[in-house]
């Protein structure tokens, strides 16, 4: 098995509010290995995007902070880095791409200049050399006529091309890790498939490790090696893609998979998880999923379930997983 390039341990992110300090991410732990694609899945507000931002140390508000936990990149804990050392990590070791490529590109600077700026900034190449590299990058992300496209502005690009340009920008300085925050959400399905293939291809060619943050299980099924499921700020299940999709060991994951279209017969109503995800200020006691869980017992409210190892590389945070597997409710069918 490949070496771990990113190790997140007990990451806790808090938000200061007038109502007190709230925990947005509660002791999340996961690894990313070289050349691996990890899917971080969850509903809106589950903390998946925040996890990606916390790794970059780009929390969206000054009221948010990493309270505890460690993030090891190549064996070094970057939570101890100060802001100026962190700048050396961003772009050079960890790249990031975002959900909405249209608004994440500078509207008054040509795409070529934006990519070249990153190369110039991190590697100190001349303007001419970095523009050549930028053209080469655009070619690698399958943009036709890269030398001409260097001089285009982002509004002259289509949505898919903008996302490609963003990827080129993020990869300009050969980072080892790419955090992709919902990279295909704003794109239509065919372009979405092209972008995912591009990511797979880049992983193959560059040995890039990718953390793919998404709410779309379909995207995850197409691309990821490992999947981590988040619910209300906690990691509830983590396993290889095959294990997780074919034999989920957490009722929430099971519900998520069941609510995907495809397996249901036509004209039949799609199963859904009843209720709504809890708001940050009113997370339930114990297991945060228990109010919506059809298998919950009194004890589920009492104690916070730990993420326990159920199988090799399969972790679940449901204290009833064992008995539920025996009842053939969870696990492989």
């Amino acid at each position: 098995m490949n070496a771990k390039v990113l190790e997140v341990r007990d990451l806790e992110v808090t938000i200061e509010t007038p109502a007190g300090v709230l925990t947005a991410i509660d002791r999340a732990s996961f690894d990313l290995r070289k050349g691996e694609i990890l899917g971080l899945v969850g509903e809106s507000g589950s903390g998946k995007t925040l996890t990606g931002r916390a790794i970059m140390r780009l929390l969206p508000s000054k009221k948010m902070a990493i309270r505890s936990g460690t993030i090891h990149v190549n064996g070094e804990d970057i939570t101890r880095y100060d802001e100026s050392r962190m700048r050396g990590v961003r772009g050079r070791i960890i790249g990031m791409i975002f959900q909405n490529p249209s608004s994440h590109l500078d509207p008054v600077m040509t795409v070529g200049k934006q990519i070249a700026e990153s190369i110039k900034f991190h590697e100190g190449l001349s303007s001419k050399a970095s523009l050549l590299r930028a053209a080469e990058l655009l070619r690698q992300v399958d943009i036709p006529d890269p030398h001409i496209r260097l001089n285009s502005f982002s509004h002259e690009f289509s949505g898919g091309m903008r996302q490609r340009a963003m990827i080129a920008m993020a990869l300009a300085c050969r980072p080892k890790i790419l955090i992709a925050d919902e990279p295909t959400t704003a794109l239509d399905v065919t372009v979405q498939a092209q972008i995912l293939n591009l990511l797979l291809d880049l992983r193959q060619r560059r040995g890039l490790s990718i953390m793919l943050v998404t709410h779309d299980l379909g995207v995850v099924a197409q691309t990821c090696d490992t999947i981590a499921v988040m619910y209300a700020g906690r990691l509830v299940e983590r396993a290889t893609k095959k294990d997780l999709l074919s034999g989920p060991l957490h009722p929430y994951t099971k519900g998520l998979i069941a609510s995907q279209p495809g397996k249901t017969q036509p004209r039949q109503q799609l199963p859904s998880i009843s209720g709504q995800p809890p708001a940050l200020a009113s997370f339930p006691e114990g297991c945060r999923f228990h109010p919506r869980c059809e298998f919950s017992e009194a004890e589920c409210q009492a104690a916070v379930p730990a993420l326990e190892q159920a199988d090799r590389d399969h972790y679940t945070a449901c204290r009833r997983w064992h008995s539920l597997v025996q009842q053939k409710v969870l696990g492989a069918a």
């Binding site: 970059m56 780009l58 100026s84 962190m86 700048r87 050396g88 990590v89 961003r90 772009g91 050079r92 790249g95 990031m96 975002f98 909405n100 608004s103 994440h104 590109l105 500078d106 509207p107 008054v108 600077m109 700026e117 990153s118 900034f121 991190h122 963003m166 920008m169 993020a170």
Partner: protein, 285 residues
């Protein structure tokens, strides 16, 4: 002119609006280019030496030799108006560029870094705004010593506030925009983000505003010169000419009328340019 009117109100008053017709931009551009040609080619275009006295032709009304007539020293008013364009345009441009630069830097730092810097700079700005600006302008020039150089210093000290406000407001919005987040995620430092990514996007409203500001600065410059605090006679400048001609306004109206009309036409051109540019760039005040 009401001396206590605040700068934004005054500026709005001098700004003529013509709705969003694209022709407005080109008419404005045409008038502005006309004045620039006059200013650059003054030596060639002007029929007479603007400072040559001619005792035999004093206070001549407009004629085919002297289109705009002559003044009390027999100087050709047309030539003086043309040469005055140089001084007045230069006053308008430098008097806008300097406050633009100072205001942009102040606004950018204030909006981007926020906190203490923002509080201090914005309180200074509030103090500046609370003064009647023309009085402040005159006071600064008087303290420094009347002249064009003092006028530039004074207009910079008085005029930066509008630009600072505009740039600060834009910076506040832009610093939380997605492409700035993307720039941060590439590891860029504050100054690079501020000057390469935020400012180019934040300047558009300021550029549009500066066009209408030219009008006000030229008016201010002429007014100051009229009061004897700016450009000094015998230099041909419109404000100075009006001041010199006012003693003869009943008998020789042309000495004051033509420089006055020139100010109006120059202001008109820049106003149209500002309006058209704002329309084209999608900026609303």
């Amino acid at each position: 002119m009401n001396m206590t009117t605040s700068i934004p109100v005054l500026r709005r008053r001098f700004r003529i609006r013509f709705g969003g017709h694209p022709r407005v931009l080109y008419v404005g551009l045409g008038i502005t280019i006309f004045w620039f040609i006059l200013a650059l080619g003054a030596d060639v275009i002007a029929p007479f030496d603007p400072n040559a006295h001619d005792i035999s032709n004093v206070l001549d009304p407009p004629s085919f030799t002297h289109w705009f007539g002559t003044d009390n020293f027999g100087r050709d008013v047309l030539s003086r108006v043309i040469h005055g364009t140089r001084v007045d345009l230069q006053m308008g441009l430098i008097g806008v560029i300097l406050p633009f630069l100072l205001g942009t830097v102040v606004g950018a730092f204030s909006g981007y870094f926020g906190r203490f810097i923002d509080i201090v700079l914005m309180r200074i700005l509030d103090v500046m705004l609370s003064f009647p600006w023309l009085v402040l302008l005159i006071a600064i020039i008087t303290v420094l010593r009347p002249g064009l150089g003092s006028f530039y210093v004074a207009i910079t000290l008085v005029g930066w506030v509008s630009y600072a406000r505009l740039v600060r407001a834009q910076t506040l919005v832009l610093k939380n925009s997605d492409f700035v987040h993307a720039a941060v995620s590439l590891g860029y430092g504050h100054l690079r983000i501020l000057f390469r990514h935020i400012l180019p996007n934040a300047l558009i409203p300021s550029i549009v505003f500066s066009m209408s500001d030219v009008v006000l600065v030229i008016l201010a410059g002429s007014s100051i010169s009229y009061l004897g605090l700016g450009v000094q006679p015998p230099t041909a400048e419109w404000g100075v000419m009006i001041a010199e001609g006012q003693n003869f306004i009943v008998t020789a109206w042309w000495i004051t009328a033509f420089p006055g009309l020139s100010i109006v036409l120059l202001a008109f051109g820049f106003s149209l340019l500002a309006d058209g540019l704002g329309e084209k760039l999608g900026v609303r005040e």
